[in-house]
Chain length 134, copies 4
């Protein structure tokens, strides 16, 4: 699994005094960076090859500003043109959220999905974790 | 169903030239305002009675800045202390996303879920739509 | 002056129970839409002709979620290739913030500023307000 | 001066393919953490002692996703109850933005400014930089 540590920003808090539920998707997305580098080493936005099809987040515990958050990222099912990113977020040893995202290998010019090439599939496979039931 | 029109902000766009996937949760949350008013007419944050347990969003089509987005909000399953908010977003007549959120009636002081009182249940029930399969 | 009403989103609040200072720039930007339409009626991002050079915001009073915010937008100094947008935000009759932004007519391909054409200047001039001292 | 390295998030980009102007205030705020710790070592939001009075940001160069951003933070003028935070952001050796913020020592219960105590003033003074002309 890939590991990334996030520093919550003050702007990630909401009026309830904790991290807002809408901040987590920005964290999980940021922690998918190693996957982005596999698909698109240059990270050039003008030729970006992925689109998000689904994001499901389970909130398990309140998360607070002032302490780092550790995100683990693994790969779930890999289909013809799509794959799952399965992620957990922990703060201070407590799991605060889980995320399952589905991303599609995508050509923005033609707005068509693309098969995942074998050389990319081979780089994803070592990171497969047991797929969630999301 | 409840209806709310959202104006995408420039800051909702991302580097791919469309609305970023992380902006939609802020829209769907805002469109749940009529549900918030049922649970908590004062909208006072200091005594806020709800917490988000899960949000799942399916992205169906790219959405763009410069045109309004229409959000329809209905109620799905109502449990003892939790309920589903089922929402769709349309832009220019095209469904761009669907959301299923689970919210819990919650006491922040004791960090315990609370039963949904009958008078609230009665106000939610007229808005029940066929539950999604999310 | 141009007028635009903003609905604060729940995600605009911060952990202090009010609207976060970092939300206002997204509101003021959104309320500059009539200026964007003067420079670029299509609103096409691929040929966007403006870049932000400076934003200064004075926070005058706390602003809260649950009530709309009225933004007035005028034009300040117009230079050869830049101009000021001068804006105020009111909630419930109270001025909560003022903003002065400097935007530059800009060609992203060459990364050069461009003179403001006369036909655009003529559309800006009726909206000139007394320039701030920001 | 205090130094902090920011990792731009994908959600910090905007539809122009660069970092959006509205993302920088969230970065500069986050980089003021060492100042927050001086005023309020516990970082507890319920007893937070600062409020933002003004933020002015000059955008000097476009900033892009995929590379870290280095923020330097110094102290400008210190008044009776307010002080300036003066900050620069660099990416890849290029200054992309400067920020001058004014923060007030503040009691949220009474909504009154408070004098800056001597023991805090003494901790701020070693970080004074030549004040900007913002």
């Amino acid at each position: 699994m890939f590991h990334h540590q996030i520093e919550p920003r003050f702007s990630d808090t909401d009026g309830l005094g904790h991290i807002g539920n809408t901040a987590y998707p920005t964290w999980f997305e940021h922690a998918r960076m190693p996957i982005f580098r596999i698909f698109h080493p240059s990270l050039e936005l003008a030729s970006w090859p992925l689109i998000v099809a689904r994001v499901a987040i389970d909130y398990r515990a309140q998360c607070h500003w002032g302490l780092p958050v550790d995100i683990q990222t693994g790969i779930g099912r890999i289909g013809n043109s799509s794959f799952q990113a399965i992620q957990t977020a922990q703060q201070n040893g407590v799991e605060v959220a889980r995320s399952e995202a589905v991303l599609i290998h995508f050509d923005y010019a033609s707005e068509q999905s693309l098969p995942i090439p074998d050389h990319i599939r081979q780089q994803l496979e070592p990171h497969i974790v047991e797929a969630g039931s999301n």
